[in-house]
């Protein structure tokens, strides 16, 4: 019996250590002023994401949106956010999703395509909790789910516009793309980017590489080195790994076009423009639906037309010409009105 007890104790300590290091579900802080009368219960939302909330990319775009809604709704008393970051291990993420669903959250966000299978399993067991996941287009309606929202980003649209900018900036007519994994919104962005470059300069060379990882900073750095050695003078890339590539681009004087979150703070001299993912509108709509009693069923899509995607120039970068601005406006209008089809 003693031996058994020891094993259990060791297993427990290990489990605690593992979850602690893997980024345990943050315990929602107790309401700041418990004795003060609170008019209504705060809206409780939890999010599980694969990288740090300060990754200047995928995860940060979501957190920025949640925080801005929280501020708008009236702070912690109106909306509580629980965050599990760095959940690159899907099994850990699944456990976190289940914890959050049973902890009284009204909305649980699985912020990563890789969490889909786990999310649907948990969603089946918690029909009264609303779930959202992305990037994805499947709300599980065909399988009878009524409590799942999905969100997607038409990243190829901003990719196209960034490609137009890259083509105008490049003097070597070679641009390089530091891709993560050849799937999802990363692939869409990259293919759109290539199309955008070629729309301006049909004879330009677009070199594409993938690191095989969303978060491998060192691999992204080496990919950027390789692109620059191959003659590229304008680079782009996607996912949280790109900070490594931006570091190299900065060192070697190549220009950078960003996506997801603004990376201008990292390298103000070389980041020209960013396609921002603005999840605020999507999240507001989801929250309004939940408060009205609808727990799922809508598939959202960020586009340039609905304002979920925005092309933002870095104000500190001096090389933006009026012609470039005009070309960008033309491209955005063309995509919004349907005269330009990205990735037909």
């Amino acid at each position: 019996m003693f031996k058994h007890g020891t094993t259990v104790a060791v297993a427990f300590v290990l489990a605690v250590l593992l979850t602690a290091c893997g980024g345990a579900p943050a315990t929602p802080a107790a309401p700041a002023n418990t004795d003060a009368p609170v008019a209504t219960e705060p809206f409780k939302v939890a999010v599980v994401m694969p990288s740090a909330e300060t990754d200047l990319a995928w995860s940060q775009a979501m957190i920025d949106a949640l925080r801005s809604i929280q501020a708008e709704m009236g702070g912690e008393e109106a909306m509580q956010i629980s965050i599990s970051e760095n959940m690159f291990n899907v099994t850990d993420a699944a456990a976190a999703l289940r914890d959050y669903a049973s902890a009284g959250n009204q909305l649980v966000i699985a912020h990563g395509t890789q969490y889909g299978t786990s999310m649907f399993e948990v969603a089946r067991d918690f029909p009264e909790v609303s779930f959202a996941w992305g990037t994805a287009t499947d709300t599980g309606e065909a399988e009878g789910f009524t409590n799942v929202f999905s969100y997607n980003a038409s990243a190829e649209e901003g990719g196209y516009v960034n490609g137009v900018i890259a083509a105008m900036l490049s003097t070597s007519n070679i641009v390089g793309i530091v891709g993560p994994v050849e799937a999802g919104d990363a692939k869409a962005y990259i293919d759109g980017f290539e199309q955008g470059v070629l729309s301006m300069k049909p004879d330009a060379t677009v070199n594409k590489t993938y690191t095989g990882s969303f978060g491998d900073t060192a691999a992204a750095a080496e990919a950027a080195n390789t692109h620059i050695a191959a003659g590229a003078d304008v680079l782009t890339g996607s996912a949280q790994q790109v900070v490594g590539a931006i570091g190299v681009a900065k060192e070697r004087g190549a220009l950078w076009l960003g996506t997801q979150s603004s990376q201008a703070s990292l390298a103000p001299d070389i980041v020209v423009a960013t396609q921002l993912y603005d999840w605020t509108g999507v999240l507001k709509d989801i929250i309004a639906k939940i408060q009205a009693g609808t727990l799922g069923g809508t598939a959202y899509d960020l586009t340039l037309e609905n304002g979920g995607l925005k092309i933002v120039f870095n104000s500190e970068f001096p090389g933006v010409t009026p012609e470039m601005q005009a070309a960008v406006d033309t491209a955005i209008q063309g995509i919004s009105s349907g005269t330009i089809t990205v990735l037909p």
């Binding site: 050849e182 095989g212 750095a221 390789t226 490594g244 570091g247």
Partner: protein
């Protein structure tokens, strides 16, 4: 396809190979020293992460690259001492304590990063240093002799470690302790002290491997930025048959394939990217499987020393 066979590409591939090899060299050579004394340190990855963070933090706050290097060495040695305490004095199962060290380094470096710097930023790290004369040799010059200081240091460590292990009394003692600690003990070799020293040096070198990423190759710190390099570094010690030169050759082969796969993707040769990024790992597994049966493995590797018990 023909783009792959131009001189520019060749220089590019070799240049990448040398740069990619650097963190592995620091970590694997340190691990070689440690394993030759009979201690498997599986926590290299964690020590690299802490070294990467310590160096980066000092460079961000003071701007001193030398300060960053000193900080990495200090933190790495400290973690090496901790590893020695657990593995040598407490005689813990080395595979398990190594995982513990990895998790400690991963968690602690992320936590400290969060508490101190908070968000991703970049530093001005070691600049590329073209060796006069040598770097103007066609093709090979720019590939081999146009690197940052830490790259040259990493390669200089290969003969240094080989000399230490094979030509000095220290090295003789390290090998004796790794092969037959009981016999070494009866001859008056301080087994425990030697293992403490090797694991501490190994920790410091692993931390330098991390620093070679954060203040030389990438000039950024991000949580979990080593992404498995520390574990590959341990595998490469086996690959290299516990000999510094063999380890270096293994690292160069692995780095060459890593560099090559990026170029293969870049020139659009048409192999799926998922397959391309797997190539270096597939190669390592094949080479490990085909390698002669662990000749050169220290006989007492992973066996804690306990005087009076065999």
């Amino acid at each position: 396809m023909e783009q792959l066979f131009t001189l520019t590409t060749l220089t590019g591939i070799l240049h990448s190979t040398i740069r990619l090899a650097t963190p592995y060299l620091f970590a694997s050579l340190g691990e070689t020293i440690s394993q030759r004394s009979g201690v498997l340190n599986l926590g290299v990855e964690g020590q690299m992460l802490m070294g990467a963070f310590a160096a980066f933090f000092v460079v961000v706050t003071t701007g001193s690259l030398l300060g960053g290097v000193v900080a990495a060495i200090f933190v790495g040695a400290l973690l090496g001492l901790l590893m020695a305490l657990v593995s040598v004095s407490f005689r813990a199962e080395q595979g398990i304590s190594g995982i513990g060290m990895y998790l400690l380094g991963l968690g602690l470096s992320s936590l400290l990063f969060r508490l101190t710097l908070g968000s991703v930023q970049s530093v001005r790290g070691f600049a590329e240093l073209a060796l006069p004369g040598l770097s103007s040799i066609p093709v090979l010059g720019p590939a081999l002799f146009k690197h940052s200081l830490l790259v040259y240091v990493a390669f200089a460590l290969v003969p240094l470690v080989a000399y230490l292990l094979n030509r000095t009394t220290w090295g003789l003692n390290i090998r004796a302790v790794g092969d037959n600690p009981q016999a070494a003990d009866t001859l008056g070799v301080p087994v425990i002290a030697i293992r403490y020293a090797t694991v501490t040096v190994g920790g410091a070198m692993a931390a330098m491997g991390g620093a070679s990423l954060s203040i030389s190759a990438v000039n950024i710190f991000q949580e979990n930025m080593t992404g498995g390099i520390g574990f590959i570094a341990v595998a490469l010690v086996y690959f290299g048959g516990w000999r510094p030169v063999g380890v270096m050759l293994g690292i160069l082969l692995f780095s060459l394939v890593s560099a090559l796969q990026i170029w293969l993707q870049l020139v659009g040769i048409g192999i799926p990217s998922d397959l391309a990024v797997m190539l270096p790992y597939i190669l390592t597994i094949i080479a490990l499987a085909l390698a002669p049966q662990r000749t050169g493995q220290p006989a007492a590797l992973t066996r804690p020393f306990n005087r009076g018990m065999v």
